[in-house]
Structures are given as C-alpha cells and as structure tokens.
C-alpha cells in the first residue's frame, strides 16, 4: 500500500533523485567535522521559528493599541502560550548565535572558496536577514525597551548621509516610531523576510548538496576519511537538533522571556535602553564615537557607513581570497577575521558591562547630555521667537514720549531709565495701558521735548502715590468691574477689599509704611502676569517674595514675628512638591494665608484650610470628637500633630507610643489614648506588611516570567487606595473603624498573595512538566546514540 503510494508520487515528482543524491553523499571526517553541524542547527532553529511564529500569529494583533495586550493574552490565557512565546524568543536568539558561529567556522575553515562562493554569498545574506528578523521582531510585543531600542536603531540609520533621512522614514513608516512602524515591522517579520529567507535558504541548501562539505586546507594532506550523509551524518544532525530542543525547553521553563511594561510613546526613555545582544557591538561602538564632523559628515555617520562597508566586505570574502592556503592575502584575511571576532565579542561584553550599576549613572548622564543639547536647541529657537516677538509686544501701542525720554535718561541716572525699560515687559503695556494712565501728565509728542509741560501737575501728573495710598491707587482700576471687563471679563475686582481685611491692609491703614502693599509683591513697572514664571507672584516665586520681608529678622522683630517661617517651609513636603517636583498645585504661603487678604488661619479653621487639599483628612477630623476637644483647649487642629510651615511627609512613625510620635506630645505612656494609638499602629503595620509581603511574592513570580498583572493590579489598588484610606482614618480617631478597614484590606491582600503563590506553584508545575520532557528527550538521545553506534559498526563491519 505504502509502496504503491511512493510509486504514485515518484511517477509524478521524480523526487527519488534527491534521495539518491543524499544516499551517495559523503561527509569528510576529521578534527573539524563538528563545525559541519552548525548549519543544520541554525536550520533547526529557523524551522522552530517558523512553526512557533505561525502559532503566535493566531492570537497576535499588530497594532499599538493591541500588540502588548495580545502578547499578554497569549502568555496568560492561551494554553501553553507562555511556552510558545518563550520558545520563539529564545530560538530567535539561538538562531542568530548559531548563524554567527556557522559563519565564522566557514570563514576560518576557508569553506567559501571556489566553487562555493555563491553558497557563502547566500549564507551571509541569510545572516543579514536573520538580523532583520531579530530587529523587526524585537518591536512586536510593543514594550518599553523594544520601543526605545527601535527608536535608537532607526535613528542610527538616519545618520547616513544623503539617503539616511529616507531610510529612517522608510523603516519607521513615517517620521516617528508609531503604531504604523509596528504594522510595517510586522509585515517585514511575517511576510517579506520569510519569503526572501525561504527562497534563499532553498538555494543555499541546494548548493550545499551540490558541492558537498568542504575539506579544510589543513586536512587535505591526511588520507580522507568519510561517513555517509544518510544515515550517519543525518542521525548525528538529529542528535544535535534534539539537544537544541532540550536547551530551548529548559530556557523557556527556567528563564521565561519577560514581557516588560507597555510602550508609552510619551514616557521618558528608560536608562537601560539596549538593542538585542547581536547589535550590541555596533551600538556600543557608536556610543563611543565622539560628536563632530568632517567635511560635513558626522563622525557617527562615518562609523555607520564603516559598519556597512564591513558588511559589504564580508560578502566579498570569496572574491578577495582566491589564492593558495599560505598566501599572504589568505593569512591577512584570517587575521582580520580573528580581529573582527575579538572586537565583536569584546564590545558585546563591554556593552553588557555598561549596564551594570557602576556604569549606569554615567550612561544616563550621557543620554541626558544628548537630550539636553536638543533641549538647548529648542530653547534657542523659542528664545529667538521670543526676542522677535518682544519688540512686537512693545509696539502694541504707540510709544509715549515718557518712555522715549526716560530711556535716554539712563546716561544721567539709571533710576530714571529703569521704569521705562521695565515697562516694555509690563503686562499693562501689553494691554495698551500707558504711563499717563497711572501718572497723568501729557505724553503727546508735541511736548516731548519739554519735560515741565509733559509732567505738569496741572495736567494731573503725579510722580508716584504715597505708600499709604498705593492700594487705592491700583484699586482705581482693579476694583472697577466695568473697567476691568474691557481686558478680561473674568478678572477679579475684590483685591482691594480683601487687602483691607488682611494684616497688611490693617497696618497700612494705620499708616505703617513698612508693611506690604501691591507693589511690594507685584513690583511697580515691569509687572508680569501671575502665570509668568518670572513674576514674583508666580507660585514658585511666592516664597521668595514673602520671604523678602518675612525672612528679615530685624523687620519682623518690630511685629513680634519670627523670621523663620519661609526657611521652615523650604524644608517641608510642600516645598519639595512645588519647587523640586514641579507640582504647581502644592501650597506656598498664599495658599494657606490667602493672597491679598493675607492673614494667619485661625485655630478653629485649620481643618478647613488644610482640608482644601487634604479633603478626606479634614472631613474626618471635623467629624471626630477631637475637633471640639482641640477647640476647647485652644490647640491648633492639624498643626498640633503635623506642625505648620515645616510639615514633613507623614509616616507611620508619627503614630503610636514613645518618643517621636505625634501622640506622645500630649499623651502619657499607658493612658487610654496611648493604648488606642498602639492598636492603630499595629493594625496599619499589619496591613502594610501584608501588602509588602504579597508584593514581594508577586514580584518574584513576575521576574520568573509569570504573568501576574491581575493580582498586581489588585494589590496596587489596595496599596494606593486601601492603605492610604486606612491611614487617613487616623483623623477620625475612631480605632474600631480603622482596625476594621485594615482587616478588610488584609483580607483582600491575602487574595493577591494567594494568586502569587499560585503563580509560583504554576512555575514549579511547568518546570516539573519540563523535567518529564527532558527525560523523554534524554531517552531519545540515548537511543539515538546507540543507533548511531550500531549503524557505524555495521558499516565498518561491511
């Protein structure tokens, strides 16, 4: 029956000719025979890649929105998806590794010589295609590391003179690495490259069969021993493939390929950005290339082109080395080959050393420096625009004679020129307000040359109002709703009223000339809008502005105030958020004391003031029994425990008994409240510890390659929500409520912990399954070994 089928096939295909050729094929046996197996192993990995790649295509979705999630889906929801994906990733790396070894072995054994030039050419192109597979496949999971590595990789292509920009756009499918790049890479990875590689591989294998195995020059003197390709060599090949399969399975189970975090196009590049290992030597080399250019070509572009030239030279090896084995060209080529191998290995090792903690900060600094340079360029463009725009802003209205004259008075007195110079940047000037609007007088050009006429008191001219009258002076406009509407319908007009209720306003009304008025904070000329970062009333500059007076010990002494408020605030969590983290919503002086109506918050209103941001805490405190108690004894509400200006980030150490805790400021050790605080602290500690332990467990599972994003999500919800909420409940001073919430949270955390334990158990199960597979492979290898020996013996026995 089977024989009939073969006859039927043979009649139509004539494929027995191939079997016949294979039967007659002999493989030389010598001390370098081992290297003959590398091509077969590379082919084996290619077959694994095609098989697992086809499987992955059943679930993978090539779009920026779905790629990461679909890989996550494969790893968590699809049966054995974790195994298929891990094998695909590992096999890709092993295929490139095997291809490199195959290339170098062929090179050093001089197997590329006539008549095998085209075999070599096809092989080198296949290696380049493998690198293309690696480069395009790296991006497909759409994770952070791959995203930025692709960005850098395609940027490098862009440095090539003339065609670089075109190449980068072609590779990316646009100007940036986007979802379009992902679709494009997917197309390359699953259609174009496989089509090219399959055709070329067929040609390569045909040539290998046609020419047989090359005998290295060093072995030509000795009597040639051979073995039959079928079955002797093929069985050994099978042995090697089975070993490779065992290695793959072990790697997939013991070192599953991590997925990392989803790519965020707007996130900063991670510090450990790196390409796949086989691009590392080029990546590291380019990093060492200094900036600069020669004849208009950047050094980096020269290095990229040099790598391109090396690749081209690799293709030409058979045509460069056509002489005898001991010819100088041959020896030079061998030396160059060793040098290239040493360079690639050395730079790859150096590259991996460079991500060690010692070198990491330096790399980060390097990247920041590069990015800084770009930022500096952008800043220069912006500055240029600003400089171009500034005269336009100044020209918003016809320049008055006041400004014209005062600008020229700088030669006599800088004080006379300063207001005119500052005025050009003033927010009022931009709205068309002129000097005459505040100072009166006659700004017309007709009297420009006559200062007395221009500044005639009869024409309403005043130099500047008395300090006591400044608030009213500004308030003429800023308190006039009709007037202000012309410029901004939403503008406030209650500043003067507020000011009069403030400590500053009250003192001002008493004739105190040292107290702050409008100009003390806003300036007189050159007033900038609040949103302008250079304005003295911009959120980040308010502490400096208030501190100008409130940090002056001599001045404050007169009012019985300490001059340390601002310096204490600078050490607070609020200052950290505002000045260093750039959180513009973090409070400076005015957020608690008010702006124009500046006054210290009253003892009874502190929970409202602090509660304007810390709403939950404020609400809980106001509802607690402590609210009335604090008011009775005249204790400040929030400040009793947290302080006022020097508020530091609260930790659990504030709670409980003993020195350093907030409670111990009022309570004696062992009293009823002290005991309650111990209970509270114990409940919070238990909850925090449960979260930490579950987190550590899940982290262990995650770095072992297990997909635990769901329990991690739940744990994060508890960490960010539940624990914060429990800590906030301290402000209710309701121990039972707090402890109950902590226990509820601990119960939820236990579920995440169980999921982590289950993930680790699953990991053990997978490894157990692998152990069974490895035993099977081992039995097969032993059987194969015995078979090979038997076949060899039978052949030798004749």
């Amino acid at each position: 029956m089977i024989r009939d089928l073969f006859s039927w096939l043979e009649e139509r295909t004539g494929l027995s000719i191939l079997a016949e050729a294979a039967r007659h094929k002999q493989v030389p046996v010598h001390r370098h025979t081992l290297w003959y197996y590398l091509g077969g192993i590379t082919l084996f990995f290619f077959v694994v890649q095609v098989s697992t790649g086809i499987l992955l295509m059943l679930y993978y979705r090539p779009s920026a929105d779905e790629a990461y999630e679909s890989v996550q889906f494969i790893m968590t929801q699809v049966s054995f998806g974790w195994l298929v994906r891990s094998i695909h990733s590992w096999s890709a790396n092993l295929m490139v590794g095997a291809a490199f070894i195959h290339l170098f072995s062929v090179f050093f054994l001089k197997a590329y010589r006539r008549p095998r030039e085209l075999t070599w050419l096809g092989g080198v192109i296949l290696l380049f295609l493998s690198l293309g597979f690696g480069f395009s496949g790296y991006l497909l999971p759409w994770n952070t590391l791959a995203y930025f590595a692709t960005k850098v990789g395609t940027d490098i292509a862009g440095t090539v003179p003339v065609v670089g920009e075109w190449m980068r756009t072609f590779l990316r499918g646009g100007h940036a690495v986007t979802g379009g790049t992902l679709s494009r890479f997917y197309g390359w990875h699953v259609a174009i490259l496989p089509a090219l590689a399959s055709a070329l591989l067929g040609f390569h294998l045909y040539l290998v069969q046609r020419h047989g195995m090359s005998l290295p020059p060093s072995e030509r003197e000795a009597p040639a021993r051979t073995m039959a390709f079928v079955p002797n060599f093929l069985l050994r090949d099978l042995f090697g493939w089975t070993v490779a399969l065992a290695v793959l399975a072990a790697l997939a189970a013991y070192a599953p390929w991590e997925l990392g975090s989803k790519a965020d196009q707007f996130a900063p590049a991670p510090a450990d950005i790196r390409p796949e290992w086989y691009f590392m030597f080029m990546f590291e080399t380019l990093k060492l290339v200094p900036g600069g250019e020669i004849l208009g070509v950047e050094y980096e572009a020269i290095a990229v082109m040099a790598f391109g030239a090396c690749g081209f030279a690799l293709l030409l090896v058979p045509f460069l080395d056509r002489g005898r084995d001991d010819a100088p060209v041959s020896r030079l080529l061998s030396a160059l080959g060793w040098a290239a191998l040493a360079y690639m290995a050395g730079m790859t090792a150096y590259g991996y050393r460079s991500i060690w903690p010692v070198v990491l900060p330096a790399a980060a600094v390097g990247m920041v420096l590069v990015m800084g340079r770009k930022r500096a360029s952008a800043a220069a463009v912006l500055l240029g625009c600003a400089l171009l725009a500034a005269p336009q802003a100044g020209a918003a209205g016809e320049e008055e004679s006041c400004v014209t004259c005062h600008k020229t008075l700088g030669e006599i007195s800088e004080d006379l020129a300063a207001p005119a110079l500052a005025w050009e940047k003033d927010a009022h000037a931009a709205k068309g307000i002129q000097c005459v609007s505040c100072h009166g007088g006659d700004p017309s050009r007709a009297v420009a040359q006559d200062a007395d006429k221009a500044m005639d008191p009869k024409k309403g001219f005043t130099i500047s109002p008395e300090i006591g009258k400044i608030p009213e002076f500004c308030g003429r406009c800023h308190g006039d709703a009709e007037f202000m509407k012309r410029f901004n319908p939403a503008a406030r007009v209650d500043q003067l009223q507020e000011y009069r209720t403030s400590v500053h306003g009250v003192q001002n009304a008493k004739g105190d000339e040292k107290v702050a008025t409008c100009v003390s904070c806003h300036g007189a000329h050159g007033i900038l809008t609040v949103s302008n970062p250079r304005s003295p009333v911009h959120a980040t500059r308010v502490p400096d502005t208030c501190g100008a007076c409130h940090g002056d010990a001599d001045l404050m002494k007169g009012y019985g105030l300490e001059a340390t408020a601002v310096s204490k605030w600078r050490a607070s969590a609020h200052a950290e958020a505002l000045l260093r983290k750039g959180d513009m919503s973090a409070p400076a002086c005015n957020d608690c004391h008010g702006n124009h109506g500046a006054v210290p918050p009253g003892v009874k209103s502190l929970a409202f003031v602090c509660g304007s941001c810390h709403g939950r805490e404020g609400l809980l405190f106001r509802e607690s029994f402590k609210k009335d108690l604090f008011n009775e004894i005249g204790a400040g509400e929030c400040v009793t425990c947290h302080g006022n200006h020097e508020i530091v980030h609260p930790t659990d150490r504030l709670i409980g008994t003993g020195p350093g805790t907030a409670c111990s400021q009022c309570h004696e050790p062992g009293d009823a409240c002290d005991q309650e605080s111990v209970r509270i602290r114990a409940a919070i500690d238990r909850y925090a510890k449960a979260i930490d332990e579950a987190g550590e467990l899940l982290h262990r599972a995650e770095i072992a390659g297990m997909e635990v994003s769901e329990p991690l999500f739940e744990l994060k919800k508890e960490g960010l929500g539940g624990l914060v909420e429990t800590r906030a409940l301290i402000h209710s001073f309701d121990t039972e409520r707090l402890v109950a919430r902590a226990e509820e949270g601990i119960e939820k955390v236990a579920r995440s912990r169980e999921a982590g334990e289950a993930a680790l158990a699953e990991l053990s199960y997978r490894r157990g399954g692998l152990a069974v597979s490895l035993v099977l492979i081992l039995v097969f290898l032993v059987a194969l070994y015995l078979k090979i020996k038997d076949v060899d013996r039978r052949q030798q026995a004749g």
């Binding site: 049966s79 054995f80 941001c613 709403g615 069974v772």
Partner: protein
C-alpha cells in the same frame, strides 16, 4: 572487526528509538494542540472590556474595573446613565472614586474633583480624565476606548 549488536539488542534499540520519538512528538504535539484551541476568553481585553454587570453594580453606584493595565471607574449617574473614565487622577496618579453626595468624581489624595464628563472641576488635577464609551448589552456593561 567491530562487534555489532545482536538481533534482540538491535530490536530493543529500534523499539526504544521509536517509542521515545513517539513520546517526544506527543510531548510537542500536546502543547501545540492545546495552543490551537482558543481559550474561553476569545480575545485580549485591549480596546473593549467587560466592566461589570448591571445586576452586580454596588449600591454606591460606582466601581473600579481593570482596563488593560490601568484602572477605570464605572459610574451610574443620578439619571441612571452608565459612564466610564480612566480612574487615575491626573494630579499624582491616585485612584479616584465617585462621591454621590457631590455628584462628582473625587480624588481623596488632594481633594481633586472631576465632573461627570471627566472635566477637572476643582482642586489640583491639571487635566480631565479620559472618557470611555459604555455599551450595555443585556446585563453586561461593556466599556471601550472612545
């Protein structure tokens, strides 16, 4: 002349080879066959996710659900309409909640408030919450990226 295997031993080696090869193929075929069978959840929750069920909506009128790797908030408005937003506060990334007394989405960390369109309405949040589309199919509430 090298010694060759006896017939029995050769048969044993062949049997061992055939059996272990069969077992090996089974060991490869089993995971592949399992992989080919689609899981119960037919697709990755990427642009569309089952956020919950109407019958299981908490009495408070809101719940947090998982959307990819991020949190979302599902709210039943006073009019009975279902709305969904990203649940990460745009200020310091705390998870927001719904306050039915305020009829606002509220971030407890720094008193940030968003209206029922996701617009930042009060407090420090600098940007609105991303709004998602909600489709109710029978008892199921499906949320998708708008």
């Amino acid at each position: 002349m090298p010694e060759t295997l006896s017939g029995t031993r050769r048969r044993f080696v062949n049997w061992m080879l055939g059996t272990s090869a069969g077992a090996l193929f089974a060991a490869i075929g089993f995971p592949v066959a399992r992989f080919l069978m689609p899981p119960e959840v037919p697709e990755a929750a990427t642009s569309r996710v089952l956020a919950g069920k109407l019958s299981e909506m908490p009495s408070e009128g809101w719940k947090i659900f998982r959307f990819g790797n991020d949190a979302g908030i599902l709210i039943r408005t006073p009019d009975g309409e279902m709305r969904a937003f990203a649940a990460t506060c745009t200020h310091l990334s705390c998870t927001v909640q719904y306050r039915s007394d305020l009829e606002r989405i509220w971030c407890a960390c720094h008193n940030g408030e968003f209206d029922l369109n996701g617009q930042n309405a009060a407090g420090p949040p600098p940007r609105p919450l991303t709004r998602f589309d909600v489709n109710v199919s029978g008892d199921e509430i499906w949320v998708s990226k708008a």
